[in-house]
């Protein structure tokens, strides 16, 4: 019943896949942000697990930077989303195709 690095990597992959499914099936932009948060957290688990099993602290530090990036992504993304909702009243991806190409 020893928990090895593979267990954590499999868990991280499963969570990453759940996030990818969310990115592919969601149309609402708020839900799309939730899915990206899941993706970032899945990689965080992988970083922390590798850091623990190799005995190197760099993995944890990369996880810190990923958390900082996730926080700034939420701040800027939600700001843009609020502006877009005030202008159009919708936050669906399909209504955002303003460029005809």
């Amino acid at each position: 019943m020893e928990i090895t690095l593979s267990h954590y990597l499999v868990l991280s992959t499963v969570l990453f896949t759940i996030g990818l499914i969310g990115v592919m099936r969601r149309k609402n932009l708020l839900m799309l942000f939730f899915a990206t948060e899941i993706l970032l957290n899945a990689t965080n688990i992988a970083f922390a697990a590798i850091s623990h099993y190799i005995g190197d602290l760099s993995g944890q530090l990369f996880a810190f930077f990923i958390i900082a990036i996730a926080a700034s992504e939420v701040a800027v993304g939600l700001g843009l989303l609020i502006v877009w909702y005030k202008r159009t009243g919708k936050i669906d991806l399909d209504q955002m195709t303003s460029m005809r190409g």
Binding site: Y8, L30, I38, N41, N44, D56, Q60, G79, L93
Partner: protein
Amino acid sequence: MFEAIAFYLFAALTIVMFTITVMTSQALYAITAMAAGMIFISAFFFILGADFLGAIQIIVYTGAVMALYAFGMMFFDTTRDVVEKRTNPQIVFVLGVLAAVMVVAIVVAPIVSNNIQALYPVIPEVGNSQAVGMVLFTKYLVPFEVAAVMLLVAMIAGIVLAGKKMDKSLTLMGEEEIEMMQAGNQSHHERGEH
């Protein structure tokens, strides 16, 4: 033994919570399930001995990010069911296969180079927070400062984007004042267009 029980318990809980987040059609269920999943993820960090990372996970995600999302959801109509995307199934299939291949490649990548050396080994004498601080403020000082500047930029961008017209309080104004403000805005827009 306890480690295995904790790992499997929290793995099942996290997967269930994130599946609810991805699959539900109610935005409120999604945000609640994601907040729970974030706290369960911090349990993995505590199991792995990364105490400081686990504390940061709880503080930043359930304290800051979830509060931001809850704040943002005040602006949106969350009672309405979320409409799902119905795209071409062939495109979805191709994208799914590509994503699966990429994930497998990422996971098996360490096989190529299995002679990884620990550059910053864990110091057994000091606690996790102290060890993290020692590495963070020596080797990773410049990325730390850049991350601080990035957070400042994100904060200013959030204030500028979301804080427009926040000095006017619609609840304290009378009906006539609101109508005057809206009429003024419309004439302003028309003048701007012509």
